[in-house]
Structures are given as C-alpha cells and as structure tokens.
C-alpha cells in the first residue's frame, strides 16, 4: 500500500509516561495559541497541565475558568516560584517574549517546548538555541511539519526519489482575520496587538511563513541563500503599518525557488505547501496531503488500491498515514485526514521525549535555522529588497 514501510505508525507517536506518572507541565501564555496548547495537552495521556501564566488578567481568567485544578499566575517568575514540582514548560508567549521564559525554565531545570519562531532577533534565537544545546533538558521548537505523519509520509516518498528533479516550490497561507484583538483599553490593546506593532512584529513572513519555510528545509535538507519580499495593506485599512498581504521569493543555491504568499484578507486555499517535481508533485495542507503523478511516472503496485481525489483536471493520491493497516481492515477511507490537529503530534512527541521515549520532532538548532530564514523574510517584506542569508547566521555557536 501507500509507502507503508516508510511511514511512522501513528501508534508510535503516543507517549508512554515513565513509571506511570504523568509529566507535570505548565504553559506560559494564555492567548489563542496558549489555549490551543492547553486543549491538546489535556488530551495527551502522560501529560498533566498544572499551571498557566499570563501577564494579562483577562486572558488568564479565561484560561483557568473551567479547567479543574489549573493554577494561574501573573508571570513566568511567579509560576516558577509557585510550582516546585514542575517538569516542563510550554512557551506560548509573543515571539519577542520567548527568550526570557524559555531561559528561565531551562535555568530552573525544566524541559522546554518553545513555539516558533524561536525569537524575534537572530541574536536572541542564537542565544536561546545555544542555551538549550548546553542544557541537559529536552528542548523542542514548535515547527509542526516535522511531527506531522502526513508530511513524514510525503517526505519519505521524496527521499525515495518520487518527485525526481525538483522544479519549483510554493506555499500559501490565506486567512480572513484582522490580527487585531477586541480590547477597549488602549494600554492593553497595545500589548495584545503586538503582531501589529512594527517594532515588535515579524509580520506575516516571520510569524506565519517560518512554519511553512521549515517544511522545505526539512524536505530538502537545504536553506535558502537569499529572499526578496513585498507587502502592503490591502484590506484592513485601520491605520496599521504591518502588511496584511505579503509575498516572498526564497532562492536556493542551485536556482530552485520557493514562492510564498500570505494574506489576512482572503481565506481561499487556506494554508498549504506544494513541491513540484519532474515526475510527481505533493500538495500538503496540514491535515491532508496528496501526491499527483505525471503521466509518464512509473506506477507502483499499491497505487491500484490507493484512495484518490479529483481536483479539476488533476487526480491526486491521498496521502494516508498507517495506510496498510487501514487497508487491511477495510478502513482506508477512514484514514483520510489526520486524526489529531498538527499541534497534537508535536506536543505528544515532546511529552514522550521528556519521559525518555524517543526524540523531539524539532530541536533547538533546526529551530534556530528556520527562525533565521523567517527573520530574513520578514526583513525583505518590510524593506521590499532582496536580503542575503549568510550560512554563518544559521549556525549556533
């Protein structure tokens, strides 16, 4: 069936807590991402979320409102002081505020999962990655493609030569949202709307693009050498300076190009990545994925039984993790689509790694490299210029 021998079983990703005791975690940041983290951690056997912190009282109250036994703190410092039996911290604070909590947690001897991008400057990212490398604790960066079973399946096909010569790369992240928080207090608004602050925000390219650029870094084992960008406010004419629509072209050394675009003004096509090769293409959409083969590409035996979907003039083979097992059970159709949101797999790998079971999906050094690419893309969009990405910037010293 569909590349089963190369596919990580979904069951292998379920963590098993060492000695039966769940891992005691806390979450720093109770905004949208922090609450998503809380929701997923509650569903992972072997994880017990004991506390959350946020400097915003309203967000903290929302996060703890119905969560039984979840203790709330107004800062990371108070949380670390108040939770003597904590074992790990998930950092879901704003990007420019990642380094402080992550380093404090490492200093306190905790394992750390830090959302991506790792930091808002190359210096902070490098410093944090170095600190993580020097620590004996588990450190994971929230670049989710590397934990995604569908992406892992596609990558295994790519590494076995299915695409043949790479022709072009593309990615899109289209959403219909303002990025603005509905707050009436101006001081609170300024704090919560950090994504719209040109002094703090990495814009669409940094905040969103970093995740997608990392897909290609992981597939190719390569990083771009330069990036050019552009951006403008197309829809949300509310006085903002941060572009609500942006595009980048990332150039790799061999001439390969990644075309990326993102917008907060239109949701058509959502979020996806495309790798085009001379014999096949992948379209990856985080919870679903498809392979499109060229007419002259050799046919594999398993393809006869593969689940297919038609998109206008193309027919795609649906990428299904655990396809052989499901096909043997006559449940191949049920395998279409990931059984958990992408965030779940990354957190589950982290929890397992903290219990001594396996490795994290993305460590500090890979996280730093992709963060640098995101930072440079952000710079390119803001300046409208081509920005070089020297390889030495990607190193963690």
């Amino acid at each position: 069936m569909a590349g089963v021998a190369l596919t990580p079983s979904l069951a292998e990703l379920a963590p098993r807590a060492a000695g039966g005791a769940p891992l005691r975690l806390a979450v720093a940041g109770a905004g949208r991402q922090g609450r998503a983290v809380l929701q997923e951690l509650q569903q992972i056997e072997g994880a017990e979320v004991v506390a959350v912190c946020d400097t915003d009282a309203g967000r903290l109250e929302r996060a703890t409102r119905r969560a039984r036994g979840l203790r709330g703190y107004a800062s990371v410092e108070e949380l670390l002081d108040g939770e003597s039996e904590l074992e790990a911290l998930v950092v879901a604070t704003p990007t420019h505020a990642h380094r402080g909590p992550a380093e404090a947690a490492l200093e306190a001897g905790l394992h750390v999962y830090c959302e991506a991008p790792l930091a808002s400057t190359v210096e902070d990212s490098r410093a944090l990655a170095a600190r993580a490398r020097a620590s004996e604790r588990v450190f994971a960066v929230g670049l989710l493609a590397r934990a995604n079973p569908i992406y892992a399946l596609a990558r295994s096909f790519h590494r076995s030569g299915t695409l043949r010569e790479l022709v072009s790369l593309a990615a899109r992240d289209h959403r219909k949202t303002s990025w603005r928080n509905p707050v009436s207090d101006p001081e609170r608004q300024e704090r919560l709307d950090w994504r719209l602050d040109p002094a703090l925000s990495l814009g669409l390219a940094g905040e969103l693009g970093t995740q997608q650029f990392d897909v290609f870094h992981w597939f190719l084992g390569l990083y771009p050498v330069s990036v050019r960008g552009s951006g403008s406010v197309r829809v949300h004419e509310d006085g903002r300076e941060v572009a609500d629509t942006a595009a980048c072209e990332l150039a790799f050394e061999d001439g390969l190009r990644l075309h990326w675009e993102a917008s907060l003004g239109n949701s058509y096509e959502g979020r996806l990545e495309v790798l085009r090769g001379s014999m096949a293409s992948f379209e990856l959409a985080w919870t679903h994925g498809w392979m499109f083969k060229e007419a002259e590409a050799p046919t594999q035996g398993w393809e006869v039984y593969a689940n297919r979907q038609t998109f206008h003039a193309d027919q795609g083979i649906t990428l299904i993790a655990d396809a052989t097992k499901l096909a043997a059970q006559g449940k191949l159709e049920e395998g279409v689509g990931l059984p958990h949101p992408p965030l779940h797999y990354a957190l589950a790998r982290f929890v397992a790694a903290c219990a001594g079971e396996g490795e994290v999906h993305c460590g500090a050094e890979e996280g730093h490299r992709s963060t640098v690419v995101g930072l440079k893309a952000s710079e390119a969009v803001t300046s409208g210029e081509t920005v070089e990405i020297p390889p030495e910037l990607l190193e963690v010293r």
Binding site: E40, Q42, Q43, T177, S184, D238
Partner: protein, 301 residues
C-alpha cells in the same frame, strides 16, 4: 455544524467590533473542529474510533459537554440521546442523499447514552459497548453559542444577537430601548414571538419524510426515525439547554418527563397553531402539534 452563524453587534465604529466578531467566529470554528463527527481530527471522531476499546482523554470543554448530554439523556427519559450517530448513518439521515427510510427494520447497531462512561477524575471517556457513535448535533451548536456569548461578555458586550442556522439563537441583553430581543417563530403577524433577554431559543423539527428543511430526527427510545411531524421550541438561560431540550420535546412531546426548572416561558403573541405547554406558573415551552406547519426561518419581529 456546517451551518451559517450570524452575529449582530451594536457599535459606534467597526474596527473593534470587527475584531471581536473575528474572535467569536474563530471560537465557533474551533468548536466545530472539536465536536463535528465529520472532521477526522475532531475529538468526537477520535472518540468514535477509539472509545470502544479503552479510555480516551478529552479536553475540559468536551468533557463538560458530554456530561451535559448525559444529564439531558437521563432527565428526558432517553428522548435526547447523543449516541445515535450509527442510527443516523444507518438510516441515511445525513447529507443531501438522506433518505430517512422509516420503513427499514431496526438496525442492528448499538446506541444508548447510558453506555457513555465518563471518568470525571481523569477527564476520560469510554463506550461501554463497541460500535457506539457520538453525534452531538443536538447540543454542540448550542454549547458553541454559549461559549461565544461568554466571549462577548468577557469583552464587555452587553447587547448582541447571535444565531446558528436560524434554529438556535441567543439574545444577550436587549436592543437599546427595548426590553428584549424579539424573535418570531414563523412568518406573519400571528407567529409566536420569543422574547429573549440573556436567554436562548432553540427550535427542532421533524418531518415524516426527509425534506430540505428537516426530517432528520431519530427517536432514541425506539431506535428509528421519528415517524410523525413534530416541532418544538424551547427558551432557556443557556443555548445548550435549549438545543438539547427542543430535540427531546420534539421526540417525546407530551410524554417527556418534567423539564428542568430553568426553562423559561415563551410569550405567545396570537399564535394560531402552537400550543403552550405550561410546566409551572412561570415556565413552559412551545410544542407545535403534528398538524401544524413547521415554522419558517427565524426572523426578528
């Protein structure tokens, strides 16, 4: 939920309310992603796949929703049952190809919310019988609206109207100068009117044959589609309560056990074909008799 949600907010300018609306709809989408039986990565889909073979940990909100569904099942004498998913599929009551063949013999498929086991201490769920399938369609939309209203209140909103698919609507506060939001159950001046002030209205209906607007209710007490036409509207402090109990009333009608005291009264305004069922001096619900025409889409009167 696969339905259209609409939010009415009063505001002096648009940027702030627009941002709030974004957040509300994002919350609704998050709930759909979590509770839809049709999303492969939803918690409900995962429970349907795994809970027959062992305990499954769920998030707090999902656990609370299931606990409420279980409670309504018990209080309604089984007229509301969140485990009829397999029956819905078996009788093809979902989607555009739904047939609702009432003539089909009882399916050999398990259902029964009594087999939904909840471990409150560890927030885990298990099915006591293999093959059980959750379908939270009769309560999840209401709960999602409750959480949306909670979000509005968190942001200081005192006046708003929000509905999902015109069958469940919440009136937060009242329009300026009015005592309540007025929601008509049907067209014309004689249509009954619900007055909503920090309360929710839900309407459920069943047609004996599947049509474009309904006819998709299972009678969980007998394990087959409801054979008679029926419509019920309930007003309650919370949308999840109204949602679930409108389904229960639609199914069981007069045979439904005593409804919980929190259900609030509907004010009738010259209703010609809807009967008022008093539960106490202040509480009641509308029950439309079988011969009556089902209400059209809700409209503000």
């Amino acid at each position: 939920m696969a339905t259209r949600f609409e939010l009415v907010l009063e505001a002096q300018e648009s940027a702030g309310p627009r941002a709030l609306a974004d957040e509300v709809f994002e919350e609704l989408r998050r709930r759909e992603a979590c509770w839809s039986a049709f999303e492969p990565s939803s918690v409900v889909a995962r429970l349907n796949r795994e809970a027959s073979t062992g305990w499954v940990a769920v998030d707090e909100e999902t656990f609370l929703l299931l606990a409420e569904a279980r409670r309504v099942f018990e209080e309604s004498g089984g007229a509301f049952d969140a485990t009829v998913g397999a029956l819905m599929e078996g009788f093809a009551l979902r989607g555009e190809g739904a047939r609702g063949e009432a003539a089909r013999d009882e399916l050999k498929t398990p259902w029964g919310c009594g087999d939904l086991l909840l471990d409150e201490g560890r927030r885990r769920v298990r099915f006591a019988r293999s093959g059980l399938r959750l379908d939270l369609g009769g309560i999840a939309k209401g709960r999602a609206l409750d959480l949306a209203v909670e979000l509005l209140r968190d942001h200081g909103v005192e006046r708003a109207l929000i509905h999902g698919g015109t069958s469940t609507v919440v009136g937060l506060g009242a329009p300026l100068g009015e005592p309540a939001w007025r929601v008509a159950l049907g067209p014309g001046p004689a249509a009954p009117v619900a007055l909503l002030h920090d309360s929710a209205l839900a309407v459920s209906r069943a047609l004996s044959r599947r049509g474009p607007d309904g006819g998709h209710l299972i009678d969980p007490r007998h394990g087959r589609p409801l054979a008679r036409e029926s419509t019920a509207a309930v007003v309650a402090p919370r949308a999840s309560t109204a949602d679930a109990w409108s389904t229960a009333l639609c199914v069981a009608g007069e045979a439904c056990p005593a409804l919980p005291a929190e259900l609030a009264a509907l004010r009738r305004a010259g209703a010609a074909d809807a009967s008022w069922r008093p539960l106490s001096a202040e509480l009641g619900a509308f029950q439309f008799p079988a011969a009556s025409r089902p209400p059209e889409s809700l409209q503000r009167a």
